[in-house]
Symmetry: C2
Subunit: 250 residues, 2 copies
DNA sequence: GCTCTGTCATTAACCTGTGACATAGCAACT
DNA sequence: AGTTGCTATGTCACAGGTTAATGACAGAGC
């Protein structure tokens, strides 16, 4: 924790989300911080609802979320969509793309989005020059795998209400971890249709499940926010494991 | 393809599964091949049904499947299991573990299994000394992400029969890719209970779905094998995209 | 060789969580 | 005012779950 404090003093206030995230994991030198910030100089703004990665298209770019939320999703020929995961500030999309001829998922901006655009070949450079950063990126990869694994468990073995509760916990915890939390409130950047496409449920049943959790006093639903009224009960009903998200509180 | 041919001549017959896999992707030097084979000198045999990674336990090892099949899975407190993915020869488990304090999934041997046991710190060494191999490992990571993404789409947005068909196609294609294929036959190393835990279905409904595909003339079911009788129709009904598995035919 | 036990596959009957459709209300935008 | 998008809810249908039973097969023990 001492390590974390030292790092936090340095990159905390004006640092990019990725630097704050990695800085909370390990002690970054000023050189490493400068390198990471320089890496993110080339930015792209994406309007809410616009795609910036298209499945099956060539993908030659690594994106780092600087501000806003994005979704990774797969689309079927019948128009059905499955959201795979949410990308928050500090998250990386396409970290392992140098051998990928085509994208295996699409990505879209859920809110107005600012992305850093990075040449994937820089990743090799990082591994050779900055082993600490490389280790941090490796951790980011493992975490991404854990998040997607939880999504598969959620879809395959939880009931509708449990899925919803588990997803709310995940997002709430992740927002907390990046320092954007608001106590037990979670800002809902997505519509109920997005929730449905995340949970593998119909729109109607998603709304029902939301209502059910509300009636049980577990959540309070406002227009753009949800409050988690009994976090322990939600955790209990879903087997939510915060360790899958790793502790790197900013 | 010329590159693939040259590489295949060299490591083809007695080479380990990982070397054959990476060798089919890129031209490996003799030094690189020797390094990769040396990396896999420390092996572990695991009996069928035994766990070798336990969720929430410390994970300080990278495993490479040399022979046999394994599963990655998550387990809930009510005993329900969700199989996340299958690991075949040449696949790597725990490639990104140097910052993981604990495993976020369990892994178990589906068949008698031979694993190479590798220190995760060797990955950094690889990145610094063997950039071609590092790129190959990066590709392995992206592929693993694609496979798990397909699993989420399957669980979230496909019907029971489609899930089954899609999974059979995935496994069949992956077996083909590592050179262990037998035409349109797929050796079934798993029980129907394993299938059920992969597909997020009940055991009984899994059997029903199997019967339904059989009745439709799409598959032929034998005790330990399944034959895909109409691969095009199976692909059509499921949106199966072989490109997600990448083409690296050995 | 026979019996018993355990595992796995298969199927029927009944039940239920969830999907689809329809409708209504509200807010924001044109 | 009309349109669009989103949320909310009722009704009915159905895909899939649960329970129970049966059959086949392999292995262990006598």
């Amino acid at each position: 924790m001492q390590t974390g404090i030292v790092a936090s003093i340095q990159p905390a206030e004006t640092a990019s989300a990725l630097v704050r995230k990695l800085g909370a994991l390990c002690l970054l030198s000023e050189e490493e911080i400068a390198y990471l910030e320089g890496l993110q100089n080339n930015t792209l703004s994406v309007d809410k609802g616009r795609d910036f990665i298209e499945e099956n298209a060539d993908l030659r770019t690594t994106f780092i979320v600087m501000e806003g939320w994005a979704i990774r999703y797969g689309l079927l020929s019948n128009g059905r969509r499955q959201i795979l995961s949410y990308a928050l500030p500090g998250d990386i999309l396409g970290l392992h793309v140098n051998f990928r001829a085509a994208a295996t998922y699409s990505a879209s901006a859920l809110t107005p989005l600012t992305l850093a655009v990075v040449d994937p070949r820089r990743v090799l450079e990082i591994s050779q020059k900055y082993p600490i950063i490389a280790a941090g990126l490796s951790w980011c990869t493992a975490r991404e795998f854990a998040i997607l694994g939880d999504q598969a468990v959620r879809l395959g073995r939880l009931s509708a209400q449990q899925r919803l509760a588990h997803l709310l916990l995940e997002l709430w915890h992740r927002v907390e971890l990046i320092g954007n939390g608001a106590g037990d409130w979670l800002e809902m950047h997505m519509t109920q249709a997005d929730l449905a496409d995340t949970l593998g449920l119909s729109l109607v049943h998603t709304n029902r499940s939301l209502s059910a959790l509300r009636r049980q006093g577990l959540i309070t639903v406002h227009k753009d926010h949800v409050r988690l009224d009994d976090i322990d009960a939600l955790i209990e009903m879903t087997d939510f494991n915060p360790k899958h998200l790793s502790e790197f509180r900013v």
